[in-house]
């Protein structure tokens, strides 16, 4: 067994283990952390396949941004695990049925197109790096799809802003940032000329 296969099995074992721990860990922060571990191991597996752009983007987007926000929410909400686990036995039959359906579907696909049919050790077609190739394809062949996807994301952004914007509240106070930034020493601070004040009775105490 060469070093690549050993690494593959090690990473796969970690991936399966952490995936299992995501749903079985007692502490919600720990399960979020196991999910991070799962993402990183998946990205290592992609890296071994030579898909360096995808694997680094997986870390950058999912681990670096999405999971951090996830952790924020999980840490700040007081999640009571007992109430979450209460419905376990009631929901188990439905979950089992759904799981079996998904497993059967995956099996059908895999049996129809066995994995060995995919050329694993194909020679690279070009010498370009795969970020370069992906860029070309996304912005030529799939440019409309990229535009469409970005419009969907923009929509999400606008909706999120619209949901949180509550300017109508008259009682709320807002800072006028441009006013704050525009102040200088002359508007805040005035030099006054006056005679020194000397109080006779305190003169002795100061020593």
């Amino acid at each position: 067994m060469d070093i690549n296969s050993i690494l593959f099995y090690v990473f796969s074992a970690i991936l399966l283990f952490s995936g299992l721990k995501v749903i079985s860990a007692k502490n919600p922060v720990h399960s979020a952390l196991y999910l991070v571990l799962a993402f990183i191991t998946a990205s290592c597996l992609w890296m071994m396949l030579g898909a360096e752009f995808l694997s680094l983007t997986l870390i950058l987007v999912y681990v670096g941004a999405v999971m951090v926000l996830f952790l924020f929410v999980v840490m700040m909400l007081d999640v009571d695990l007992e109430t979450l686990r209460r419905g376990f036995w009631k929901n188990l039959p439905l979950a089992l049925v759904l799981g079996v359906v998904v497993a059967v579907e995956m099996l059908l696909v895999i049996l129809k197109h066995p994995l060995t049919d995919v050329v694993v050790n194909a020679e690279p077609v070009t010498t370009l790096s795969n970020s370069n190739i992906l860029g070309w394809i996304l912005y030529t062949q799939y440019s409309y799809v990229v535009e469409l996807a970005s419009m969907v994301l923009l929509l999400g952004l606008v909706v999120a802003v619209a949901l949180t914007l509550r300017k109508s509240d008259k009682a709320a106070k807002y800072q006028n940032i441009s006013k704050q930034v525009a102040v200088d020493s002359r508007t805040r601070f005035k030099m006054v000329k006056m005679d020194a004040e000397v109080e006779e009775e305190h003169k002795g105490e100061q020593q």
């Binding site: 922060v29 991070v36 990183i40 360096e52 680094l56 681990v63 941004a65 951090v68 924020f72 970020s131």
Partner: protein, 350 residues
């Protein structure tokens, strides 16, 4: 070097040992530089505050970093009773590993690097975004409100400024068309200005360069953006609960990432190891690692200088600066850059 060990110890074992030694060759000098940057910071701050600074241990205080290290190592490591102990000790490890692992792809000279990968910039951004976990976990695991608030502040700030930095990088990628650091530096050596000071990326991308520089200060949580420490409000930020060696690891990571940001700025905007003088000037005109070191040291001096000069920002001002000032400017400049590149005035057609 790796081939030498492969001949000596066989293919696989030699490969591993060769790369471990290669990694140590990068990490040990880096740690030493970190040690002396802390000393330099104390001496320079002392000078700027018109006081003396650390000058007792050894000549000019040169052994002060080692005295500090010994003090940290021999201090008792205190684990808070309600801390989540696994995560509590995972956090400094994560932050240190990420701070050191980014150096794997950073080149120091055209033929001096640990690895030259064709997605170097992506790798650096990905790994440094992992470093955020160290901070957020350290803040959470100590089970203290102060450290948690510090951790949340630091994380929100780092995520915000990562965006501005990312767009700064996008500008560089647009003109060099490569994700490899070596290609980026080589691209700055040619052009209309024939590789002089003026052909480096800082001039045509001046707004991006400035924003990258400032965001780098914010990203490393240094003054004037060091609200995560904000000792007047939250004691000492995300590492309140740490003592001894784990605390030293946070310090080591902070200074290592300071040096990293300076090096990346140098490589992407200031021509890396290229010389500012014409090539006819002999030693002064040749590209070498010395130029990289000089530029990095200048930027590092800047980091310390800002700390002595600027008062700390208010937190909402930091967020406003990142999202409402820097991000729009970078977006506009990327648009301008794109228009410039396709126009007949483009200086990148060669």
């Amino acid at each position: 070097m790796v081939e030498f060990f492969q001949n000596l110890l066989g293919h696989d074992l030699g490969y591993v040992i060769g790369y471990v030694i290669k990694a140590l060759v990068v990490i040990i000098p880096l740690t030493l530089v970190v040690a002396y940057v802390t000393l330099a910071e104390r001496r320079i701050l002392g000078f700027m505050h018109a006081r003396i600074g650390a000058n007792r241990v050894g000549p000019f205080g040169l052994f002060q970093p080692f005295a500090d290290l010994l003090k940290f190592v021999f201090k008792e490591i205190i684990t808070p009773t309600k801390a989540s102990s696994g995560v509590f000790y995972l956090a400094p490890a994560v932050i240190l590993i990420c701070a050191l692992a980014t150096w794997a792809v950073v080149p120091f000279a055209p033929d001096l690097y640990f690895t030259n990968v064709n997605a170097g910039i992506l790798y650096v951004t990905a790994i440094s975004s992992l470093g955020i976990y160290g901070i957020i976990l350290a803040g959470w695991a100590g089970n203290s409100k102060y450290s948690f608030l510090g951790g949340i502040r630091a994380t929100a700030q780092m995520i915000s400024y990562e965006l501005a930095m990312g767009f700064g990088i996008v500008g560089v990628l647009m003109v060099s068309g490569s994700l490899s650091f070596i290609d980026i530096v080589n691209d700055q050596a040619i052009g209309k200005m024939h590789g002089s000071l003026l052909s480096w990326n800082w001039l045509p991308m001046f707004p991006l360069f400035l924003i990258y520089l400032i965001s780098g200060v914010a990203e490393t949580n240094r003054a004037p953006f060091d609200v995560c420490e904000g000792e007047s409000e939250i004691v000492a930020g995300f590492h309140v609960e740490y003592s001894g060696t784990p605390f030293a690891l946070f310090m080591l990571a902070e200074y290592a990432s300071m040096i990293l940001v300076s090096t990346l700025t140098t490589i992407m905007f200031l021509g890396g190891w290229l010389s500012p003088f014409p090539t006819t000037w002999g030693v002064l005109g040749t590209a070498s690692m010395a130029w990289l070191v000089v530029k990095v040291l200048i930027l590092l001096f800047g980091f310390i200088w800002y700390r002595a000069s600027f008062p700390r920002y208010r937190y909402d001002q930091i967020m406003r600066l990142g999202w409402k000032v820097f991000l729009p400017i970078t977006l506009v400049w990327i648009f301008v850059l794109g228009a410039w590149m396709v126009s007949p005035l483009s200086i990148w057609n060669y």
